[in-house]
Every structure is written in C-alpha cells, then in structure tokens.
C-alpha cells in the first residue's frame, strides 16, 4: 500500500529547485519591477554617498586658563588654530565660562586647571576639563572625541621636546670623550693627565646617567600618556553611532596612529637607555685602561695610541647616539592637517555596512509580501496546495529564492560602493557574502513569518511596516542611537539589523575575519533558524 511519504517528501530538493526557478520566472516576467528592485539599492547608495560626511565647523567655544604655563599656551594655540572650534572668549574663571554656556554664546568651555604644566614636567598625567552644552548631543559627542585627540597631541609634543634634550646630552658626552682623548694623547707621562682622564670619565658618567634618567623619565611619561589612549575600534563604533562626530573621529583615528608611533618610540627609547648604559661602561673601561696604559707605557709610549683608539671608538659611539637621538622625528600634531580616513569620501566607508544591512532588510521584508500572502490572495497558492508538496518544501523553496535574490542585490550595493565611490573593503569578500547570506536568510524568514500570518498583501504591508520602520530608525543608520530614550536603545539590542551592521562594519572597515564577529554570526543564525521554524509552525495549509 502506498503511503504519504511515497508521493510527498518532507524536503524535496527537486521541488525546491522548481519553486526557486518559478519565483525567478515570475519576477523576471515583469522587467520593470525587476529593474526597480535592482535600482533601488543603487539609488540608496548614491543618496548616501553624496550626502554623508558633512561635519560641523566653528563651534563657538571659550577657554579658561588657570595654569598659564608654557604648556597651556601650546594648548591655547592648538585650540585657536582648529577649524572645528571658534574660540570666541578667553575667560578668567570656570564660572564665567559656564555663564557663557547658559546664555548660549558658546557651546563648549575648555578648562586648563592649575598645575597642568607641572604635571607634565613631573611625568604625571595632565588633565584638561571640558564643559559641554549637553542640550546639543551631537556637539557634545564631537567635543568629547576631540578632547581625547587633543591631549594625545599635546603629550606627543612634550615627548618631542624631551627627545631634543636627550640628543643634546649625548652630544655633550661625545665632546667629553674627545677631550679625554686629547688629554690622554698629550700628557703621556703626566699624573695630571691621568687625573684629567679620570675627571673626563666622571663627566662622561654624569652625562650618561643624565641621559639615562632622561630616557627613563620620557619613557614613563609615554606610559602615562598611553593610559589615556583608547581602542581604535571604539572610535569606529563611536563614529557609527553619531554621524556628526565624524570629523572628530577622523582625528581620533589619526590619534590612534599617533599611539602606534608612541609605542614605537618607546621601543626606541628602551634601546636608547641600553646604549646609555653601554656608554657608561665604556667610559669606565676607558678610565681603567688609560690608567693601566699610563703605568705600562711609562716606557712604552706607543701603546698610548691604542688607548687613543679605544677613546676614538667610544667617541664614535657617543656621536652615533647623538645622531640617533637627532634622527627621532618630533611628533607635533596639528588637527587641521588630519587626513580623512578611508576613501577620501568621508562617511561612506562607515555607512556602507549600515546601508547594506538596511537594504537587505527592507528588500527582504518588503519583497516577501508577494511570496505567500500574495499567492494566497491571487489564488495561485491554491494550486500549490493541491499538489503533494510538503509545507517545509514550499517554505524552503520560497525562502531560498528570496535569500539568493537579496544576496545578489546586496552584492550589487557592495560592488557599486567600490566602483562608484572607491570604498575600501578591508575584509574578505567571501566573509561579506557569508554575512549577507545568513542575514538575508533571517530577514526573508521574518518576511515569511509575516507572509504566512497575512491573508492579503495589504495585510502583509501593514505588518511589514510595523517591523521594518522601527528597524530603519532604531538601527542608528539615520539617527544616532545615543539620542534615543533608553527603552528604545534597548530595542536595538534585539534587532537583527544591529548585529548585521556590527558584523559587516567589522569586516568591511576593520578588516575582521569571521572569527572576530562570532557573537553577531551566532545571533543572526539563531534569528534565521527561529524565523524558519516559526514560519513552518505558523504556516496554515488552509484556504478559507
């Protein structure tokens, strides 16, 4: 006796293929609709491409300088020369500045506290306070970001000064050695000569220890500075959350480069300190051998020449050290000269992941109305229901088609971003494709759930609006998430678009591999699976 299984497999791949092919045939029979579907993401990317990246300029600001030191004047000069801010007032006290903020005359007050310069000289971490007009969250964001960059810039300047001092000490040491050599050569049988050599050594030792101390100090200074350096990824995230902080964030990213530079400088200085040690040891050897030589060469003056040679070689080392110190480039930061990060079209790189996530989501959710609800409405689903085809096969085939279609559409967005705007994709294209595919699976799955719930396309559209509009606005693509009430911010945590944006951002901008976005992938996979199960459970094979 035949049974159900002989005519209807739970998962029939031939039928799934037929469903995919049928959907493509249906879609491609309407060339206009097909074209619109493909043009829509291009329009979106063009719109974003040409409107994104506008940065604020000349935010009115004031400075209260309690320190009035050499360093605080550097800071003032930096603030004055920065285009982001327009310093309208130099106020005498913090309270005076606060009043200016309250009156709306300025948006920001920079406060340089007393002892700021002393802190720098003592190797402590200097602080700058910023008072921000919180009534404008976007400016608050920009300023916070900017201040971090700013302190980094100042500490780099200080480092440069210290390197210069170091270089000077090394030169002095080199001079001492030259003197020792001369003295040693001239006063071969003279006790006085030995005394001179010894004095020379003392001086050299002092210079070396000075150098050493300086190096240690600079090194610890750098370590202090590093304390306030931040995670570059955080910057990118920060950027994403608030479109208007972009300009400042470019600066931050450059600061991150500065951080890298500081780290390499630290390595250099560590080497430098070792050289200082060796110089001191060399100087001791010079002294001892000179003394020995003096004794032994009362009769054999020619050996003195060897002594002179050793001194020469020590001198060479000192000179190298000086040159080396000279060769360390001073790191002065000027915020005005910061190069935009990425493609030269500021903003687009950062928005691409979100745009992609948005397009896939909108496309999938809006397009699924035709899938089941539409076929139910126009009756063609009846015909499918009259065949021995399982619900799972119907859903799998339909989902597969829309998933492939959305993946294709999204690939076009990536392609357009690269071709038209020269967006740099740091991660692998395969990773992007993988992420888009699992995300599209979830998005079409969600559409499928709505589609099996709705009886008509009109009902579907109403349901889809409830889902897709919040996703659009809560995903932080158009509006920064920070400006929303906490409850709404919480909602973003359960939206797949949030996770897709995050993962795509990681891969496209930061060059992450898939293993670095595992939590996002897990969420997206669970979401896709949940929608698939839900749509199978909710799928009613009944026609009323």
């Amino acid at each position: 006796m035949a049974n159900n299984n002989s005519v209807e497999k739970t998962l029939d791949f031939r039928k799934i293929y037929a469903i995919v092919k049928k959907n493509w045939m249906v879609l491609s029979s309407d060339p206009l609709r097909l074209r619109v579907l493909f043009i829509f993401p291009l329009v979106m990317i063009l719109l974003f491409g040409f409107t994104a990246g506008k940065t604020p300029k000349h935010i009115p600001a004031a400075i209260a300088d309690y320190d009035k030191s050499e360093y605080s004047s550097i800071i003032q000069a930096q603030l004055y020369s920065n285009e982001l801010f327009s310093i309208s007032r130099l106020v005498g006290s913090q309270d005076e500045g606060k009043k200016l903020i309250e009156s709306g005359e300025v948006k920001i007050l920079f406060v340089i506290p007393p002892g700021f310069g002393d802190d720098i000289n003592a190797g402590r971490t200097p602080e700058i306070s910023v008072i921000i007009d919180e009534s404008d969250p976007s400016i608050a964001q920009v300023t916070r970001a900017f201040t971090r960059v700013f302190i980094q810039g100042v500490s780099n300047q200080i480092n440069a000064q210290r390197v210069a001092i170091l270089s000077q000490s090394a030169r002095g040491f080199s001079q001492y050695l030259a003197d020792v050599r001369t003295t040693a050569a001239d006063g071969r049988k003279n006790d006085q000569a030995l005394a001179n050599v010894y004095a020379g050594f003392i001086d050299a030792k002092y210079a070396a220890s000075q150098t050493d101390r300086m190096v240690a100090q600079t090194y610890s200074k750098m370590r202090n500075n590093l304390g306030m350096i931040f995670d570059p990824n955080e910057i990118v995230d920060d950027y994403e959350r608030n479109a208007s902080t972009r300009s400042a964030t470019y600066a931050l990213l450059t600061a991150s480069d500065a951080q890298q530079q500081t780290l390499s400088q630290m390595a250099t200085y560590r080497g430098f300190a070792a050289v200082g040690d060796r110089i001191a040891r060399d100087a001791a050897t010079i002294y001892l051998s000179s003394k020995e030589l003096y004794l032994s060469s009362l009769e054999q003056g020619r050996q003195l020449a060897i002594s002179a040679k050793i001194i020469d070689s020590a001198s060479m080392k000192a000179k190298d050290l000086a040159d080396f110190a000279d060769s360390i480039p001073p790191t002065a930061i000027s915020l005005n000269e910061i190069e935009p990060y990425g493609s030269g079209r500021p903003g687009l790189d950062f928005l691409i992941p979100s745009i992609l996530a948005l397009i896939v989501f909108q496309g999938a959710v809006m397009g699924m109305g035709r899938a089941i609800a539409g076929e139910r409405q126009d009756g063609s689903l009846t015909r499918v229901f009259l065949t021995p085809t399982s619900n799972i096969t119907i859903i799998a085939g339909t989902l597969l088609f829309y998933m492939l279609f959305e993946t294709l559409r999204s690939s076009l967005v990536v392609f357009a971003a690269v071709i038209i705007f020269g967006v740099t994709i740091k991660g692998s294209l395969l990773s992007i494709l993988f992420l888009i595919t699992i995300y599209a699976a979830g998005a079409t799955g969600l559409g499928m759930v709505l589609s099996v719930m709705a009886r008509t396309q009109e009902q579907y559209m109403a349901l889809a609006m409830i889902i897709s509009l919040p996703s659009m606005f809560l995903a932080g693509v158009f509006l920064p998430v920070e400006t929303m009430p906490p409850a709404l911010q919480g909602v973003t945590k359960v939206l797949p678009i949030t996770y897709a944006s995050d993962a795509l951002r990681g891969v496209i901008i930061k060059g992450f591999s898939l293993s670095q976005v595992v939590p996002d992938i897990v969420f997206l996979c669970i979401f896709a699976l949940a929608t698939l199960v839900l749509s199978v459970l909710m799928f009613k094979r009944e026609l009323l």
């Binding site: 309407d30 009756g379 009259l386």
Partner: protein
Amino acid sequence: MGEEYAIKCDRFTRKFGKLTAVDGIDLRIKKGELFGFLGPNGAGKTTTIKMLTTLLTPTEGEAMVAGFDIKTDAALVRSKIGVVPQEFALFKELTAMENLWYIGELFGMKKDELERKSEELLKIVGLYLKKDILTESFSGGMKQRLSVAAGLLHTPEILFLDEPTTGLDPQSRIAIRELTQKLNATGITIVYTTHDMEEADKLCKRIAIMDYGSIKAEGTPHELKEKYGGGHRIELELGPHDGQLLEELKTVANANEVSQENGVVVIHVTSVGGGLIHTISSFLAKKKVKVKEMDMTEPSLEEVFINVTSKQVRD
C-alpha cells in the same frame, strides 16, 4: 481494486466559528460518475469541495477520496485528484506552458512525461498555439480551459470542477461542458458544482442539491424532477366540448388539478407513467372531442431547485 466509491463521506462537517457551513453530510459518489452539486450561493458546495480536495480540514466526520483518508493521507489524495478551483489559481506572470511545467514539477512528474502531457492537454483544451503567452492576457474562457488542463496534468482519477462555467461566454461554457463529458467518457470520476440548472440537467448523471450546509435532495435529474418537480403538465387544445369534460378528465387522468387557461386545458399530474397519454386520448376519442394540439412538459430542474431550496434570496 474492490473499492466501489470514488468519494465516500460520513457526517462531513465544517464550522467557521458559530457558522456551520457544511452540516454533517453523508455522500457516496461512484467511480466513473459525473456528479453534480447544485445549490444557491453559500449553500456549502465550495466548502465541501475544499474539504474533499484537502484545502480545508473538516471539523467533524470523515471522508475517503480515491480510497484514501483526506485527513491522514492528504498527500495521496492530492496525487489522485485533479481540481479546477473557482478562482483562476494559476500564475498570471507565467505562460501556459510554464504554469503546467511548475504544477507538473510539484506533482513530481518525470520531465518527458510532463512535456508530453502538457502538449497533449494544451491541444485538447485548444491552447496549444498560445502556450508561450503570459496567462495574464488570457480571456476568462482561456484561463478556465488552462485551469482544466492543469487539473488533468497528473492523470487524476477524480476531477473536481468548482463552478467552471460561471462568468464565461456561451462558447466557452459549451467547450467546458463538452470537455467534461469527453473526460467522463474516458472513465474519470467528475464532481461538478454549478448553479446553472440547465447545465446540471444536461451534464450530470446524478445530482445533489445542497442548501444551508446539508444535502436536501439527491438522485438522477429525472428522479429529482419526479420527486420534487411538482408534476407534469399536459396541455390540450380541444374542439368544442361541454363544461363537464374537465371534471371527467381529472378523474380519468387521476390528475391533481385540471384548469383552463386561455382556452387551453391544462392537466397537472404527478406522473405520466402507465400509458396515461393513451388513456387520455382514448377517453377524448370516445367523447368525440377533437384534439387540435397536445403538448406535454416535464418539470424543469429549476422547479425542483426552487421547491427544494425555496425562493428566498441568498448571500
């Protein structure tokens, strides 16, 4: 195959909330029958068809279709039945051929068989020359004929036609009816719903009249007319005769009523069996009454229908 019935249902019921659309019907349709479902709109015909074709589950009762239980063996039932639903139920974005391809794939038909059957059926329904045209542009009749082809694609044992001629022009109606008869002649059981009385009368071998969710009358058209038609009319145009004749005729013919309408004598009888016409003409000859013209009308199915379902307007 000892099974005598193509369709067998008992206490078949479907409720939608408080409304009982189909109310415990019992039905037997033999193999090879051309069975008609008659009934006013909302009588429960389409709901019954949807349940029999596995598109709806009955709330109570059970049914065996083509030897399989519609609840437990729905997929097998589907593989044995063909359906021409009331609505078009095909993809208007696909051509005739593409539609058949898709349906054939979902029936799991083999490629060459599918191609052969599609071409054969498109020729039968007269759409072969339009096979590569999008069905969007098809007329109502063409769509319906394609729908029939789609229903027959997998060579079903039973074909359900749910009001296939509604809204069609006379030519298309005739084409569909002829096709239905031709198919039935090849041995396919056909279940046909309609509210066109004439069509049911001409086409169906047996008819069930449904109203308010239950079967009110069932039988061959002739049986139904005999039972519910309100009798036959014998009309006589007679030569001169006396007033007594009508009374005498009533007794002779065992008539329910004899009346005179515009000079024509009308005898209402329940049945014309037993040589009634002969009896009447002999009686008149004996009475020497001249019979100028004699006419006899059977009750129409419409009369049966109205008698069974009342004249109240539905919907």
